[in-house]
């Protein structure tokens, strides 16, 4: 069985270190907050101007002035801070937010990411994604290995408009974990019921294999 969304979030969570500042994208990345390893506490940044995102508010305590980048009502942790959008992206662009975890439409073997424009659909805009991938030192992509029609999402060359160039450091899918290196993809782990040949069939970019001997499944 492929890894679940929660499994993927667990694997991404293991990449985070205690005390880090992290920005989580909408969708599977959001789940990472609930799947951190024991003893690891990170501070979540919301690019609309909050450092220290807390859980959703109790019913009746929603506040229109306290939302996350997905426009959902949230709370603020003790020790949090509010700031304007230029300061928020100073944090992001300046590399102070240490890890960004985002989804992908396509990601290339050299770490190019496309996640803001779907062919034939209306362009809604990139929001903060381009700033996040350009500025954050460590970018993790969490994505299904293939799209709904079975097309590989990991490709040699993105044909969708890019969000960022050579910006992705790690790809975690429902089937496998890849590091993105100067020389391209390196397979570091895969779920139990697939194998390297099967992975090559559903991966649109070549990859080297250097399985992490210490990898423990989610």
């Amino acid at each position: 069985m492929a890894w679940t969304r929660e499994d993927m979030a667990t694997l991404a969570g293991r990449d985070l270190q205690d005390g880090q500042y992290v920005n989580l994208g909408i969708g599977i990345p959001t789940l990472v907050a609930n799947h951190l390893p024991e003893g690891v506490r990170v501070t979540l940044q919301s690019e609309n101007g909050l450092l220290g995102i807390g859980p959703f508010p109790f019913e009746g305590e929603e506040d229109a002035d306290l939302i996350n980048a997905g426009k959902q009502t949230v709370t603020a942790q003790p020790g949090s801070s509010f700031f304007d959008s230029a300061t928020s992206f100073a944090m992001i662009r300046g590399g102070h937010v240490q890890t960004a975890i985002l989804g992908a439409l396509q990601v290339s073997g050299h770490g190019d990411l496309a996640n803001w424009q779907i062919p034939g659909k209306l362009v809604k805009g990139m929001g903060g994604a381009m700033d996040l991938v350009a500025g954050t030192p460590h970018v993790i992509v969490l994505t299904e290995h293939v799209s709904k029609d079975g097309t590989p999402k990991i490709v040699t060359h993105c044909d969708l408009p890019l969000t960022g160039q050579r910006c992705v450091d790690k790809i975690i899918t429902d089937l496998a974990v890849f590091d993105v290196t100067e020389d391209g993809l390196v397979l570091r782990a895969h779920c139990a019921d697939t194998n390297i040949d099967d992975l090559r069939a559903v991966t649109g970019a070549p990859f080297a294999v250097d399985l992490d001997p210490e990898f423990v499944g989610p």
Binding site: A64, T73, S85, L122, G128, A134, Q165
Partner: protein
């Protein structure tokens, strides 16, 4: 002397004109200067360029200006919440310049701060950088982005005083302090007017020098786009 003005409608009408560039604060529907947007609609000014992170939703926020066909161009990072907007965009009636969210914020700050342009890595190698000046610094490629100066800036703040000093509440701050700086004329809509009981000078976020006029917001229930909550733990009221 106070910067408080009584009528948002008259104030906006006096400062907007056909073809004007108007910068507007807010992130989604949070921290929107609602009265000032209504006043901008009521002004009937046409061919506006709106600079704002989002363009509201159908029937709310800046969506009102789209309905009223007052807008020719928008500069935004995300416009996905507005169906009428989508139609106008696809029909070619509306020009959209997409700016990455951080680039947009920085462009407003730059415009307000007399910075003609700045070099950022954001957007390099993407459609956003196409046609723009590129330059390599320390082995990395950057794209030149220009400062934005608006003819009129519309800001929402939590509290304001007679000098135009402003403070914001929680994430309703968002783009507002930057919008405040980049307007040739800046109007702030405040929920609480402190008058000459001034805001503590150490906690002022927008110094009054950036604000020409203050109006008191009409009391209203604020819009929430995504109401997300969690169950109360047992035994708690």
């Amino acid at each position: 002397m106070t910067k408080l003005r009584l009528s948002a409608t008259e104030l906006v009408a006096a400062h907007v004109f056909d073809g004007a560039t108007v910068a507007v604060g807010g992130f989604g529907l949070s921290g929107n200067p609602t009265d000032l947007i209504h006043a901008l609609r009521d002004s009937g000014a046409k061919d506006l360029t709106i600079v704002s992170n989002n363009m509201g939703v159908d029937g709310k926020g800046l969506g009102l200006l789209i309905e009223n066909k007052q807008v020719t161009k928008v500069v935004s990072s995300y416009v996905g919440e507005n169906k009428l907007f989508a139609e106008e965009f696809l029909s070619g009636a509306l020009e959209v310049e997409f700016a990455p969210q951080g680039t947009l914020a920085e462009r407003m700050r730059a415009g307000g701060a007399g910075i003609a342009g700045f070099f950022t890595k954001t957007g390099v190698g993407t459609p956003v950088a196409e046609g723009k000046q590129m330059q390599v610094f320390d082995g990395e490629e950057f794209v030149l982005e220009r400062g934005i100066v608006a003819d009129l800036s519309l800001v929402k703040a939590h509290r304001g005083d007679a000098e135009g000093n402003l403070v914001y509440r929680h994430t309703a701050r968002n783009f507002n302090p930057l919008v405040a700086t980049c307007g040739r004329v800046t109007i702030a809509e405040v929920e609480v007017y402190e008058g000459e009981t001034y805001i503590d000078p150490d906690i002022v976020v927008t110094p009054g020098i950036f604000v020409q006029h203050v109006v008191l917001a009409t009391p209203r229930v604020k819009d929430i786009e995504q109401r997300t909550v969690r169950p109360r733990p047992e035994g708690k009221a």
